[in-house]
């Protein structure tokens, strides 16, 4: 797995377009939001909203879209079939391919949230914030595997990833600006909804731990849905 991950990281660093889309764009969007942070001071969620939105944007754009594009490209060029002609297991091959985007996304989120904490306040519940971030990473990996199953090429990924990237970002903004007092169940059940609320709670503090842990439920359910869909739709070779 590590051998594959190293070669994937080498390819990411060598391919300027992939490197740009995997790193510069999410970081740039986040930095732009930081410079405009005063606009968010009037909403009830406060800086927690920024943290929740950053997390969703970075992980959906930096990890989810990159993972779908990479898997589609590796399938299209028969690299996945090549890996399956070796002794590595399917899970190791996937872990090796998705490891670098996951690592890059975690570094991005950590860096941007650290900047945010320096500019504003230190998050109230850091362990909970980490749990929220990791659950979001797992959800996006599951959804990426599922989306890759219906994505035929990297170009196609620009279309197939839109519902999740736009949807999760919209849900994050919706919850950030309006809270979960109204339509709370719906907002939490949407992909990324409960993770956004958990991130906001972890950043702002002052909420019940059990209630927060219950918010992991919908995210875990989306992870399971992603994995089930991936098992059903994921293809190792281009359709013949």
């Amino acid at each position: 797995m590590l051998t594959i991950a190293r070669s994937e990281l080498r390819q990411i660093l060598r391919n300027r377009l992939v490197f740009f889309s995997a790193t510069i764009i999410p970081v740039g969007v986040s930095l732009l939001l930081i410079t405009q942070r005063d606009l968010f001071s009037t909403v009830p969620s406060g800086v927690g909203l920024l943290a929740g939105v950053f997390m969703i944007i970075l992980i959906s754009m930096g990890l989810y879209t990159t993972a779908v594009s990479t898997l589609a490209a590796r399938r299209q060029t028969l690299f996945l079939k090549r890996l399956r002609s070796t002794a590595v297991s399917d899970s190791s091959a996937l872990a090796g391919i998705l490891g670098p985007p996951v690592l890059i996304a975690i570094i991005q989120v950590t860096a941007v949230l650290t900047v945010l904490a320096v500019l504003t306040d230190i998050p109230a519940e850091i362990p909970l914030l980490i749990v929220s971030g990791l659950s979001l990473v797992a959800m996006m990996v599951g959804l990426a595997l599922a989306t890759a199953g219906i994505t035929t090429s990297p170009e196609h990924a620009q279309v197939t990833t839109l519902p999740i990237t736009m949807g999760t970002s919209a849900v994050a903004f919706w919850i950030g600006f309006t809270g979960t007092e109204e339509l709370g169940t719906l907002k939490r059940l949407l992909p990324g909804g409960s993770a956004t609320e958990l991130t906001i709670n972890a950043w702002n503090g002052g909420t019940d731990l059990v209630d927060n842990l219950l918010l992991l439920g919908p995210t875990v359910a989306w992870i399971a849905i992603g994995v089930l869909l991936a098992k059903r739709f994921f293809q190792w070779e281009p359709r013949r």
């Binding site: 594959i4 070669s7 390819q11 060029t77 090549r82 399956r84 002609s85 070796t86 002794a87 297991s89």
Partner: protein, 295 residues
């Protein structure tokens, strides 16, 4: 003497929905032999190979490779090299990095520099795969298959895109591997390569194995031919039954080429008759291939 079998396929069936690609296929490959699996387009050989190589599960039937289930990658792959029909390499990796990656994942150990020297890619070690020619990619593919000198090697269209010199070099390497005991499974559209190299050939058509045997066994199923141009006046007096081809040549089909050719030449000499454009030969593998695909 029969060697132990390396590949055993019994009543293999492969279906895609309603389409039955492979039907009750049974064959085996013996240790140390070069077995060529040939067939028309859509004959089912790719599906068969995918099952035997462990890329696909069989719909039904029993397949063992090196005594193991082909889907048990950890058990089988370190002993098996696969040259895919299409390369499937990462474009942004160099030749050396690609071979080191695939080689290490194969579970076999070797020196990439040694293998690259064998396939003639030493000068390209630092070249990215995206900059390689089609023939160079095939040689890199071959390098991944022979990395660590596995005991079983699948060669899927190995010489497509290679120049004559590269083809000769590839077959020389295959010959050396066979001298060391390697078993080779070959698929190719170059029938002359199969005719020259294969110990046994399986001919597939429409999902079934229509013929199997050595080259002489397969070509022996069809008559040899003698063709020539003859003065019309002499044609009725020929000692053997003949037919006239579309190009105006007399054609004699024979199961006993040497005997009948001798009889024809003796007759021509005795009648002081010239046999113009004389051509005689046994059945070629492509004749057998055509007979299978037309039948």
């Amino acid at each position: 003497m029969n060697s132990p079998t390396v590949i055993d396929v019994e009543r293999l069936n492969v279906s895609y929905g309603d389409f039955h690609a492979v039907k009750d296929l049974t064959f085996s490959v013996r240790r140390g032999e070069l077995y060529a699996l040939l067939g028309t387009n859509g004959a089912g050989k790719t599906s068969t190979l995918e099952v035997v190589e462990g890329h696909r599960a069989a719909t039904s039937g029993k397949v063992t490779v090196l005594g193991e289930h082909p889907l048990d990658r950890r058990a089988v792959r370190p002993r098996m090299g696969i040259m895919l029909q299409e390369s499937g390499f990462a474009a942004d990796l160099s030749v050396r990095e690609t071979l080191a990656l695939i080689g290490s994942l194969s579970g076999r150990s070797d020196q990439p520099s040694r293998v690259l020297d064998v396939v003639g890619l030493t000068a390209k070690v630092d070249t990215r795969v995206s900059s390689l020619s089609g023939g160079e990619k095939r040689r890199l593919d071959f390098a991944t298959a022979i990395y660590g000198s596995p005991e079983l090697i699948f060669l899927d269209e190995p010489t497509t895109g290679l120049d004559i010199q590269s083809r000769d070099d590839l077959w020389d390497t295959v010959d050396r591997l066979r001298e060391d005991g390697a078993t080779i499974v070959l698929t190719t559209h170059y029938l002359e390569e199969a005719q020259q190299r294969a110990d046994r050939i399986g001919l597939m058509h429409e999902g079934t194995l229509r013929m199997e045997g050595t080259v002489s066994e397969l070509t022996g199923t069809l008559p040899g031919t003698i063709s020539f141009v003859l003065d019309d006046a002499m044609a009725p007096h020929l000692p053997l039954p003949s037919s006239l081809t579309g190009t105006g040549k007399q054609l004699i089909k024979t199961q006993s080429l040497q005997h009948d050719l001798h009889e024809l030449l003796t007759w021509a000499h005795a009648h002081d008759t010239e046999l113009y454009d004389l051509d005689a030969g046994p059945t070629r593998l492509d004749d057998v291939f055509r007979s299978v695909s037309h039948n």
